[in-house]
Amino acid sequence: MQLPPSPARKGAALVAGLALLAASACGSGGTSPAPQDAAGPVELSVSLFGTFGYQETGLFAEYEKQNPGVTIKYDSTQSEDAYWPALQTRLASGKGSSDVQGIEVARIADVVTNQQDLWTDLRDTAAGSAVAGYLPWKEKAATTKDGAVLGLGTDIGPMALCYRSDLLGKAGLPTDPATLAAQASTWQDYLALGEKYKASAPAGSAWTDSAGGLYNAIVSGEQKIYYDASGALVYADNPAVKQAFDTAAGAGSTGLTAKLEQFVDPGWDAGFGSGTFATIACPSWMIGYIKGKAGDAGAGKWNVTTLPGGRGANWGGSYLAIPATSPHKEQAAKLITWLTAPEQQARLFTKVGNFPSTTGGIAQVSATTDPYFANAPIGKIYSTAAQAAPVQILGPDDGVLKKVMTKALLSVEANGVSPADAWNAAQQAAKQQIG
């Protein structure tokens, strides 16, 4: 059935009409689109979520200095959950989106399958020549069926295991990264160490933060998670999902987890400093997060080693993209190409931990160590993990399904729901939510 293009636009027109009727003095506020890349000064608006690190490491200021006439207007929404819906309404109304917008990897499948018309095909811009420099799978995820490239990868999220060497030492467990990695080479071994930790751990400290986090770390090492290569939903029958769920639920129901939901429970943030949990599967971008939450007092207490499971894993990583309505596409393309170029990515990794998504950037960071994490060779650990990690199949509802699973696992650890019941509830909720 053919329907009018955009109800939101219709609504805006009606409101504007009523405003005129009421003879409001402020006018309708309509702006005529600026001419495409007019010469002279240009203001590029950049809207991101969370911490990309560009502002924090002075990259915006540097770009402005190198390109006289360009000013960057930057804003960021802390929570991606709030950022994305707001952006969607702006895209639907054709007004108000910025020249550069960040896209989280869990949204990219939705963007390439459903929103091709709303974004700029970067092949036609200054960014086109740079596309070959990114990891092939990273750009493939941002490429539509017709070959349009809709985003440039800012970073990827290879995973490692972050742990509190002070707490492990108190519980009589190995504190040396190599020994720990050797003793926790599989997830079963890792949980067996957890049992030992539980037996002699300091009071109020659990082995890991949450069953949901553990589940996510395990499935992030899989190629096929919620969708198969043809785009069909397979979460219900995928043995990898069930296995990861059961493993995490087992850990949750035997008290190996601190029951702190990631990024949602304020106790989770506090836990990095207070030691409520001793280990956590940490993608590279969490390196900066841990430093921020544990603060100076945490320096030297945290360390990094290889993730159990032996396969590497990837969680997260984002894209920069240009909405189709941007009047400064060419300038914006130059900016995002520069921001995601190898040199800048390497600098970001050293400063905030975001791991490069360009092959050139990865080559530059392989020797990086981090004094905060007891001089752990984070460059080498994350490079190895990135190489080993399988290329995940992404789908438009990955985010919703992950949330459903995480929630079910929280009910196991915090509410005493049996793993089998929680699994069934998750299946039912998944059907309700995406069906």
């Binding site: 329907l3 009421a22 709303l118 304020p266 506090a270 915090a414 509410n415």
Partner: protein
């Protein structure tokens, strides 16, 4: 006026002045007739733009499959069928009710007590009255963030106090009743003062003679409260109940922020209210059609609640 106008004019030289006067008085008549409409127009225009239009548009959207970021396709009442067969909806409905009761009942009782105390002559009366209204002037977000800290499992003040008297720490976020009580306490804290002030105003309109008469009859303070204050306050109490009920059916900010910005309302959805359920459908899952269906069902429920309240009030009045 029409008579004056139609009366034949005797002198010709006066005619232009007469015509002008006639025109002016016609203008006056038009003005007098149209002025009320013009005066109320701003409200109705704004209401049409921001009340009526969204309401009707939401009804239209609720008949579509509409994913955030893509286009709508008509599916008839499927969203409502989905809603009424969804256990998560009934769970949210029940939570809205229990949180509503947990927050409204203590809130109104406390407010009544506070108002009664403040109705006495005392030092610093104005200070206490203003102080009571402070929580109401605080933003939901700020209040909830502070309460979330107080109710924190590992380092919260409440659990510390419980520990002092030997009670084990409570997992306020993840427990079912615990989370609902924590959220209700935020609502109680914010709204008690507001209701107390309304009660206080009601109490002050009760004639002092009634109290004197009751005192002469030998009624003590409690009896005066029961037999003079309460009956006198009946319309005020009814008003606060109506307002609190509507407020309770729309509770949103407190559970959202208490849950750390997640719309699930806990692992089991144990504190997911209808407002959160709507938000989850529309903005976290991106199903705007379903969210619109939830919005309409909520709207109809509130209309029914208001009608029930009004009917009760009318019956009371007739009985009184």
């Amino acid at each position: 006026m029409t008579l004056t106008l139609s009366r034949p004019e005797p002198a010709a030289p006066d005619a232009p002045g007469q015509r002008r006067r006639a025109r002016r008085s016609r203008l006056h008549a038009f003005e007098a007739r149209s002025a009320p409409y013009a005066y109320i127009a701003p409200f109705f225009l704004l209401f049409a733009a921001f009340g009526l239009f969204p309401l009707i548009d939401t009804a239209w959207i609720s008949l579509h499959r509409y994913r955030l970021g893509s286009s709508m396709s008509f599916i008839g009442p499927d969203n409502f069928a989905w809603l009424f067969t969804n256990p998560a909806f009934y769970n949210a409905l029940l939570n809205t009710f229990t949180i509503g009761v947990l927050s409204t009942v203590p809130q109104l009782l406390l407010a009544l007590g506070l108002a009664h105390l403040l109705n006495h002559r005392m030092r610093g009366r104005t200070f206490f009255r203003v102080a009571m209204l402070m929580p109401y002037a605080t933003s939901v977000a700020a209040a909830t963030l502070v309460f979330a800290q107080l109710f924190s499992r590992d380092a919260g003040l409440i659990n510390w106090l419980l520990g002092v008297v030997g009670v084990n720490p409570v997992d306020w976020r993840n427990g079912s009743w615990a989370a609902q009580i924590a959220i209700s306490s935020i609502i109680i804290w914010r709204w008690t003062g507001y209701n107390a002030l309304i009660y206080l105003a009601g109490m002050q309109s009760i004639s002092q003679d009634l109290y004197e008469a009751a005192a002469l009859d030998g009624a003590n303070a409690w009896q005066q409260f029961r037999h003079v204050t309460l009956p006198g306050l009946r319309p005020t109490i009814l008003f606060t109940i109506v307002v609190s009920t509507i407020g309770a059916s729309q509770v949103f900010g407190e559970p959202l922020i208490f849950g750390g910005g997640a719309a699930e309302g806990g692992a089991l959805g144990q504190y997911q209210t209808l407002g959160l359920f709507l938000y989850q459908q529309g903005w976290q899952i991106g199903q705007l059609g379903r969210a619109a269906a939830v919005a309409w069902v909520m709207f109809l429920m509130i209309v029914v609640l208001v009608l029930v309240n009004a009917a009760l009030a009318r019956r009371r009045e007739r009985a009184a």
